[in-house]
């Protein structure tokens, strides 16, 4: 635990230094608030619009979580399916990669056009963005199972389903979690984007309004909330990883020390 705290200290110091420098620069150069507000101005703005921010954050959070859960589940299922049925993999894998080459800037408005201004286009957009890192990480994990373990399991007569459920799937958990962490950040960003094109709530919508009114401090306040939201989501996943991935990196290190 002690090493964890010292691990957190350097980035906190750097962040504090950057904020201080920022504050000093704004003050010395006498910058207009609509171009670059100072950190204290942003903090004050955040405090003043806290109820609004909370309202929009809730909306973003719900959207992000729905999209993330749907996308991650889809990625998980796709990876499992593609792994278990090889011909599906050869047929669909290139299409999956292709799906990531469609710019969401182009896709977003189309989805709104097709599915209206409701939640559906937003969920679809976030799902499209988040399923991919999960699916790719998971597939890597499934196909990278230890050759010795694989040989052993086959020698003692493990069936195809036992191989999958008892060896390949648990073995791919570390990969799954690294995919989930990437997907978590993606899901927040894509939720923000989705809100900026077809929504009447959420931090993306809030930023859009603030920009139109040149209320730059509000934009920054929203950015800060988004960053905190991303960090929280990432933290929850990292925590889940510590709980579920036994014998993984963290507990292994403890073992080595004893």
């Amino acid at each position: 635990m002690g090493s964890k705290r010292t691990g957190l200290l350097p980035p906190v110091i750097v962040l504090a230094a950057v904020l201080l420098l920022w504050q000093a620069a704004v003050w010395l150069l006498n910058t207009d608030a609509y171009i670059l507000p100072s950190p204290t101005a942003i903090a004050k703005q955040a405090y003043d619009s806290a109820p609004q921010l909370a309202h929009h954050m809730r909306s973003t959070l719900v959207m992000t979580l729905i999209g993330f859960v749907v996308g991650a589940s889809l990625g998980f299922l796709i990876a499992a399916l593609l792994h278990v049925i090889p011909w599906v993999k050869s047929g669909f894998y290139p299409l999956l990669v292709l799906s990531q080459n469609v710019p969401i800037m182009a896709l977003g408005p189309l989805l709104v056009l097709w599915f209206g201004f409701g939640m559906l286009p937003r969920v679809i957009l976030i799902t499209l963005v988040t399923f991919f890192p999960v699916a790719v990480a998971m597939m890597t994990g499934l196909s990278k199972s230890d050759g010795g373990l694989y040989n052993y399991m086959r020698m003692i007569g493990a069936t195809q389903s036992q191989l999958f459920w008892r060896m390949e799937l648990p073995g791919s958990m570390p990969h799954l979690f690294s995919g989930l962490k990437i997907a978590a950040s993606y899901s927040v960003i894509s939720a923000i984007y989705a809100e900026s094109i077809g929504s009447d709530s959420g931090l993306g919508y809030f930023i859009l309004l603030a920009q139109h009114g040149f209320e730059t401090a509000k934009v920054f306040a929203a950015i800060a909330v988004i960053v905190l939201l991303s960090l929280a989501l990432f933290g929850v996943i990292a925590l889940a990883e510590r709980m579920f991935v036994r014998g993984s990196a963290s507990s292994r290190r403890e073992g080595k020390q004893s």
């Binding site: 010795g148 040989n151 086959r154 007569g157």
Partner: protein, 257 residues
């Protein structure tokens, strides 16, 4: 005495793509392992021992010949043997006990019974302290003990041990041999053992089958005369040293001189 494992006229030829290279790995191999017998296969590296194990395990099909366990042909069918591989092959995400339980349930033992068996035997061999530990905190020797226990507790009649000590250091290896010897002598499972070590073969086995270099064929069968229970004191026995020398001569590559 009935044969637990009967291998008859087993031949395996690997056909590399487009019939360019045909590699003959096993050439008309016949042998058997009796009930409660410890039989060792010894041979130079690359003499097809792994292939032979894959055939017995049902992972691959022989080009010709037959394998039967308890009189039933098991060619190409898996799950008839208990197996101890070269590397301990324990699932890193499962505790020691859970690892044993996993193997036993795959072999068809119920979850509850498997857990009781694992608990009981981990205690019996002095490993109860690591039952809830993960494999990575165990030394190589300890991991191999768990791996052996796992095979010993599996309900299949035949245990196949594939160079189980080759990755251990010399001292650990000797301890493991003595440990396995005492455990086996009080249980008398039918064992097919593969090793490169002549001493190991002599210390542990009832019979030793000497394989030639590829394509492997059985060139000699040596009946090990020492009475059981045995111990490491055998190492100094003149008869032991004589047999060791004899086996060494047989295994010496023809081109070495």
């Amino acid at each position: 005495m009935s044969a637990v494992l009967e291998v008859s006229h087993l031949t395996k030829i690997f056909k590399n793509d487009r019939k360019t290279h045909e590699k003959s790995v096993l050439d008309d191999i016949s042998f058997h392992v009796d009930e409660g017998e410890f039989v060792t296969l010894i041979g130079p590296s690359g003499s097809g021992k792994t292939t032979l194990f894959h055939l017995i395990g049902g992972l691959e099909l022989p080009t010709s010949g037959d394998i039967s366990i308890h009189g039933v042909s098991t060619v190409g069918s898996r799950g008839h043997i208990a197996y101890m591989p070269q590397q301990a092959s324990l699932m890193p995400w499962l505790t020691i006990e859970a690892n044993i339980v996993l193997s036993l349930t795959i072999a068809g033992i119920g979850q509850r019974e498997a857990r009781e068996l694992a608990r009981e035997w981990l205690g019996r061999v002095g490993l109860e302290g690591v039952a809830d530990s993960y494999p990575d905190v165990l030394s190589g020797g300890m991991q191999q003990r768990v791996s052996f226990l796992r095979a010993l507790l599996s309900p299949q009649k035949l245990m196949c041990l594939d160079e189980p000590f080759s990755a251990l250091d010399a001292l650990t290896r000797q301890h493991m041999q003595a440990w396995l010897l005492s455990l086996w002598e009080s249980n008398r499972r039918s064992v097919l053992f593969v090793t490169h070590s002549i001493e190991e073969a002599l210390l542990l086995s009832d019979r030793i089958l000497v394989l030639s270099a590829a394509p492997a064929a059985i060139v000699r069968e040596v009946r090990v005369p020492f009475a059981r229970p045995r111990s490491e004191t055998l190492w100094g026995d003149p008869a032991f040293i004589g047999l060791k020398q004899e086996l060494y001569e047989m295994l010496r590559p023809a081109s070495a001189l």
